[in-house]
Subunit: 150 residues, 2 copies
């Protein structure tokens, strides 16, 4: 995949993740133990008695998996530099065994006012499970370097 | 710490993290390898030549650490159920050796329209490093159960 510069992004551009990410109970529990140690993310039985009615991934694990899929599907020259989240929603729990894929759409492109050598790309991401249900949606900005230096 | 219900939250309430989270180069690289495999998050030398001018934590690691500090400092009855991110900004890179603490302010409390047994609490979080510089700020919603059932 060729490295992408600001000039390569355009409104309405859609980028699908090359593959999908399988989520295991082990990964859900390991992430939770480190970053979101709540019973429904750590233990099947505790999950059953909770809001989630079963073991569910931390929303921040889902967000991290979505980041990996984004990095794998969009190769920005010099790397994808995050420039903020405009909104993120967890629309359904992610369960052990789920496979997550992403569909990214470019919804904004503008030069950066503070960094003339970069442009700001705004994207909406829909993350789907294997049943084609949306589990996360977000609007996130990143910087991409200009091919023609300002 | 007593478990908190919706009625325990009020506008202007400020909750400081009990402790702080020390971030190591090892944790930065381990998280990056799994969820944000970009050179400036994986390798000191690659970081030097990058936008970040040194090894920097993935913004999603910072967000995950902030989640742990939130969970440790606010014990919601039944667990903290995330209900979306309104905004998140990474204002400074997080570096190996940094210590992160959080200051959370309640900026919204309202009954949930879709779930009558819960209320929606909106909080802004400022995450500081050991130099009292803000490294992340966010506005995040969570659900808290009503003590008096609707």
């Amino acid at each position: 995949m060729a490295e992408m510069y600001f000039e390569d992004f355009y409104l309405g551009q859609v980028i699908l993740s090359a593959g999908s990410a399988k989520v295991s109970a082990e990964e859900i529990k390991e992430f939770a133990a480190k970053y979101d140690p709540q019973p429904f993310h750590l233990d099947e039985a505790a999950g059953e008695g909770s809001f989630f009615k079963g073991l569910a991934a931390s929303g921040w694990l889902t967000a991290a998996i979505v980041m990996r899929l984004r990095v794998e599907s969009i190769k920005v020259a010099g790397g994808m530099i995050g420039a903020g989240v405009e909104e993120m929603r967890w629309t359904l729990p992610v369960r052990p065994g789920d496979s997550i894929r992403t569909e990214i759409e470019v919804v904004g492109v503008r030069p950066s006012s503070s960094r003339p050598e970069y442009g700001l790309v705004t994207t909406t991401t829909l993350a789907y499970n294997q049943h084609d249900q949306v589990v996360l949606r977000s609007t996130v900005n990143f910087l991409a370097p200009l091919r023609r230096k300002a």
